[in-house]
């Protein structure tokens, strides 16, 4: 168990900067997931913690020891790679036991510890096989075993589930979670899959373009996204965003073609906002209902338990997720009811969250 402190960490490749100053603190025993689109710098950050990438600026400390200049092996981290990175010429047992062999652990103890790890991961019957002869899920487990056997202070996961099929991914997800509860080592898990992120994380770090957008529990990230990027990146289907202007009695949307009456708008009149509402927070009502927006149905996606209805709001795409048994025909008109409590407001320029209902006194300017 170890805490990790990241202070002002930057990463440059030649002239391009890919990580622009990241500050993060991970508590001991915490399961942290770093979520972001590909190319956001999340893997680079993880690899800097591991010691596989040099840190261009700033410091990373594990258990209050700055590790910038330490070799990977001196940092007490174990890593599970995206492509598993199993040694193809070694058997499963040799793969799992390699770190012990390097460390000079006697053969008898090594065998015993390999057995123990294999038992936990249900790999006992595969110990003599080569990685070639294993399925994707089994390889994944061997990779986990190789990390576990060292009893590391920190577990690093670099998109370890992205090469697995959907069913196996769900299964491995819960196994990783169980494993974490059992070993209780600080874990940093990098992924671009938001479902993985939401289900695994004690705390979630959302990154974009080399910067941290938001840090919080999965619940906080979902209910109070700190920026327009987080709002649209987390949640499927993505949050709807409509640009508009604040008026005395509500919002003028889509260049003035639609008006939404909201009783408690707390933003200065005339200011431009990006209003976001999650598809699952929108209610379908009969067209023409008071306070509802009329829209034309484009497409209905059946999900079994519910359906996603894609509509057209004067040319702006908008989606609604409902579990009610409604099946509007494409081309028909529906009414959309939006509750002020479910609305998120973001600055159209910076994308940062505007907290309208908290401020008792309207702010003088944006």
């Amino acid at each position: 168990m170890a805490s990790i402190a990241i202070r002002g960490v930057k990463k440059n490749y030649a002239k391009t900067q890919v990580v622009h100053g990241v500050d993060l603190d991970f508590a001991s025993g915490e399961f942290v997931v770093i979520l972001g689109p590909s190319g956001c710098g999340k893997s680079t950050l993880l690899r800097m913690i591991a010691g596989l990438e040099e840190i261009s600026d700033g410091t990373i400390a594990i258990d209050n020891t700055v590790v910038n200049k330490l070799e990977p092996r001196e940092r007490g981290c174990a890593m599970v790679f995206q492509n598993y990175a199993l040694y193809p010429h070694m058997s499963v047992a040799q793969n799992i036991g390699y770190s012990l062999k390097v460390a000079g652990v006697p053969a008898a103890e090594r065998t015993q510890r390999i057995q123990a790890v294999a038992r936990v991961l249900e790999l006992e019957h595969l110990l003599d096989r080569k990685p070639m002869a294993l399925s994707g899920g089994q390889r994944q487990r061997v990779a986990m075993g190789r990390a576990m056997i060292r009893e590391p202070k920190v577990f690093l996961f670099d998109e370890p589930l992205s090469n697995l099929d959907a069913k196996l991914r769900v299964q491995m997800r819960s196994e990783i979670r169980k494993l974490h509860r059992r070993l209780n080592a600080t874990s940093v898990f990098v992924t671009h899959d938001q479902v993985e992120a939401m289900t695994l994380a004690d705390r979630l770090v959302v990154m974009n373009a080399g910067r941290v957008e938001q840090v919080g529990t999965p619940g906080e990230i979902y209910t109070r996204p700190a920026s327009r990027f987080v709002a649209t990146f987390v949640g499927a289907p993505a949050m709807n965003i409509l640009e508009g202007t604040v008026e005395l009695d509500g919002l003028s949307l889509l260049g003035g073609s639609r008006h939404l009456t909201i009783a408690r708008a707390g933003l200065p009149v005339g200011s431009k906002v990006a209003m976001g509402v999650r598809p699952e927070a929108v209610r379908l009502v009969a067209p023409g209902t008071a306070g509802a927006l009329n829209a034309t149905v484009d497409l209905v996606e059946e999900l079994g338990a519910g359906r996603v209805i894609y509509v057209d709001l004067d040319g702006a795409p908008f989606s609604v997720m409902t579990s009610e048994a409604v099946h509007p025909e494409p081309g028909s008109t529906v009414g959309l009811k939006l509750s002020p409590d479910d609305m998120h407001f973001f600055s159209p320029e910076t994308g940062s969250r505007l907290d309208v209902f908290k401020a008792s006194i309207p702010e003088p300017a944006l």
Binding site: R73, M79, N83, A85, M132, R150
Partner: protein, 294 residues
């Protein structure tokens, strides 16, 4: 992905193969067959008939101490030059693989020696290693008489080994570098996370994973050291001094074309061919077992 063309009639397929088969027959099987025939007969030096002598040619060669000296010299040459060429190339490739900037340039520059004809590079080395004027003259200045390939058989052997190795280092380097680069980076990183240092990683991960390439190069280098050495020997030492560098391939030439002993030379080339075949079979049987194919 396998792309396979199928022909409705096998005759069309055979017709396509005919030009290649003709070439192989004309330039390989026919001369080889002719050599076997000559080795079993006594050919007249100026043409005009021959006498069937069975295995007499082989008996007389194998009873000749000069020939056994030639075999020993060839084996020494093959062993040392292959070892040297492969070891230097392996070290260079391993270092290049670690520091990738400019590896493209090395790849181009290091293939050039292989493209130089053996006699041309032998001529260059003859000057470089000349005892009276070349680079080694400096050494001779310090230790007089230290280096003289014209008199000392060991020095002469060393000269042709250096020239041959120089040519094959580039060739081997290209293959080794490609093999190193084919190893996924994450394997090296995983080993680093497992606590393995540079040398240990090389021994435990990289070396086993390039064994297919090592094996391939071993077969090629040994085979070539028996055959491609002719030009180097001819220009640098002409088999001397005192037959110290009279390799099998050179002895075939000098006995056959200078001594006009066609039958004896033919028998020698059959023995050389058998030796290479046996060595190659040996390598496949005993060394390939240690190769890890992925």
């Amino acid at each position: 992905m396998e792309k396979r063309v199928t022909f409705s009639r096998s005759t069309i397929g055979i017709l396509f193969a005919v030009p290649q088969l003709l070439l192989i027959f004309t330039f390989f099987y026919w001369p080889a067959g002719q050599a076997v025939y000559w080795s079993l007969t006594l050919q007249q030096p100026w043409g005009g008939g021959n006498i069937w002598v069975g295995l007499d040619n082989f008996r007389s060669i194998l009873a000749n101490a000069d020939y056994w000296n030639s075999i020993t010299a060839s084996l020494v040459f093959a062993g040392i030059s292959t070892g040297l060429a492969m070891f230097i190339a392996l070290v260079l490739a391993a270092l290049t693989d670690r520091q990738l900037a400019g590896s493209r340039l090395y790849r181009v520059v290091l293939i050039w020696p292989y493209g130089i004809a053996a006699p041309a590079l032998a001529m260059a080395f003859r000057f470089i290693l000349a005892p009276e004027a070349g680079f080694m003259a400096v050494v001779n200045q310090v230790w007089p008489g230290f280096w003289d390939p014209g008199l000392d058989g060991a020095d002469a052997m060393a000269s042709i080994i250096v020239a041959f190795s120089w040519k094959y280092v580039g060739y081997n380097f290209i293959f080794f570098l490609a093999a190193f680069q084919a190893i996924p980076r994450s394997l090296i990183e995983a080993a680093a996370m497992d606590g393995s240092g540079v040398i240990r990683r090389f021994r435990d991960i990289q070396f086993p994973l390039i064994t297919p390439t090592i094996f391939f190069l071993l077969v090629i280098n040994i085979t070539e050291s028996f055959q491609d050495s002719f030009g180097i020997v001819d220009i640098m030492t002409a088999g001397g001094p005192a037959n110290a560098t009279n390799l099998m391939v050179y002895k075939i030439y000098s006995d056959g074309f200078k001594g006009l002993d066609y039958s004896g030379a033919a028998a020698q080339s059959i023995i050389l061919m058998l030796l290479i075949i046996v060595l190659t079979i040996f390598q496949f049987r005993f060394i390939e077992r240690r190769v890890h194919y992925r």
